[in-house]
């Protein structure tokens, strides 16, 4: 058990009602889940492909579905309701259930670390989050996967692509954080 200085694990006997679990327990859980998914439906974990299919749906609202089905990308990754759609919706439901039971659900516009650096403006944070969202999904599709598909499912199969993703994403993220959170008055 981690000697946690973070949110203390409360004593509630129902694990779902605790605020958080040890990162090792939760991590092992994700590992076991990926084994189960492999065994039962013969699929890796994944999220970003489904989100890019949802963007096909969103596009169809404006352009009609024909333009979407003729698109070079969406003709390969057809936007259609299926396993991955249910998986995404259920992930949402599971996280909400967990947050509600654990008592951590709260509406958040500006998170603490962002506020410390960029101030309390919600507009600023929303612009940052939106741009970040654009970049991360474009990057995920270009790389062929995200933290789930490459970072967990890929690496645990010893796929070269997964480990390259892990290393490059990690280094790029550290460099970005260094730039973004550099204190202008006290650079170090």
């Amino acid at each position: 058990m981690e000697q946690s200085t973070t949110a203390p694990l409360s004593e509630n006997p129902n694990p779902l009602c605790r605020r958080a679990w040890s990162p090792y327990v939760a991590g092992a859980g994700i590992g076991i889940l990926s084994i189960l998914v492999f065994l039962v439906v013969n699929k890796p974990l994944g999220m970003s492909t489904e989100i890019s299919k949802l963007s096909g749906w969103a596009t169809a609202i404006f352009t009609g579905s024909e333009a979407v089905s003729e698109n070079a990308y969406w003709s390969q990754k057809k936007p259609a309701f299926g396993y991955s759609t249910v998986f995404l919706l259920a992930t949402f439901a599971g996280a909400m259930l967990s947050a509600k039971l654990g008592g951590t659900f709260r509406w958040e516009k500006v998170p603490g670390v962002w506020r410390e650096r960029f101030g309390p403006s919600a507009g600023k944070r929303m612009v940052g989050a939106f741009l970040g969202g654009v970049i991360i999904l474009f990057g995920a599709r270009l790389a062929g996967g995200c933290t789930s598909g490459h970072g967990i499912s890929g690496t645990l199969q010893l796929a070269l692509s997964g480990w390259i993703f892990f290393a490059v994403m990690f280094l790029s993220g550290i460099a970005t954080a260094k730039l973004m959170f550099r204190n202008p008055s006290n650079p170090n």
């Binding site: 958080a20 991590g27 889940l33 065994l39 991955s84 967990s98 270009l142 790389a143 933290t147 550290i174």
Partner: protein
């Protein structure tokens, strides 16, 4: 019951619901659906993300390798290594992850815990997906073919056998965790914060 269950069947969709629910609970309880935890990892101030991911990789990897040996799995699901696209995409992903504060999966989980900026970022992800789809023809012709090494596993690349990789990774992770916990204890209450 015959495994694997076809994902397009009702049973498959039911599995998606169960697996997704568990995934959502795990992401939330691991605290990786929190902006501060993700961003402080990249600022090297909170190693929660590393602990969660390394544990998942070692536990899941050993499990899959064992089931593969036992013949319970049909085969691996390896993504190809299209080097240029992979490196550029992963680099963008790192930038996006720090700016957004989540990855695609944890972003979905974060919206469910009340993070409104995660929802705005989700709209951004949809736009990112649209941008990718409309530039796909060009990217496919000019980027995805550069350095295409196919589906390569580390075992084939290095000649180091499966079990040695897992022994190495498990020991490496254990050493890393021991060191992290020890330094966390000696530093006391500094380091990460909720």
């Amino acid at each position: 019951m015959n495994l694997p269950i076809p994902t397009s069947s009702i049973g498959g969709l039911l599995c998606a619901a169960v697996f997704g629910l568990i995934f959502g609970v795990l992401l939330q309880k691991a605290r990786v659906a929190e902006y501060d935890v993700i961003v402080n990892f990249f600022r090297l101030r909170d190693m929660t993300v590393l602990k969660v991911m390394l544990t998942a990789i070692v536990v899941g990897g050993i499990g899959v390798a064992l089931m593969m040996t036992a013949g319970w799995l049909e085969g691996y699901h390896i993504k190809g290594t299209k080097l240029l696209g992979l490196v550029l995409g992963s680099a963008l992903f790192g930038v996006g992850m720090v700016l957004y504060g989540y990855c695609p999966g944890t972003g979905v989980a974060a919206i469910a815990t009340g993070s409104l900026h995660a929802l705005v970022g989700f709209a951004g992800m949809l736009v990112g997906g649209i941008a990718y789809a409309f530039s796909y023809s060009w990217i496919d012709a000019n980027i995805l073919g550069v350095g295409d090494y196919g589906k390569v596993r580390l075992t084939e690349l290095t000649g180091i056998p499966e079990f040695a990789w897992w022994a190495l990774l498990a020991l490496g992770a254990a050493a890393c965790f021991t060191w992290l916990e020890r330094s966390a204890r000696s530093v006391g209450s500094t380091g990460h914060q909720g």
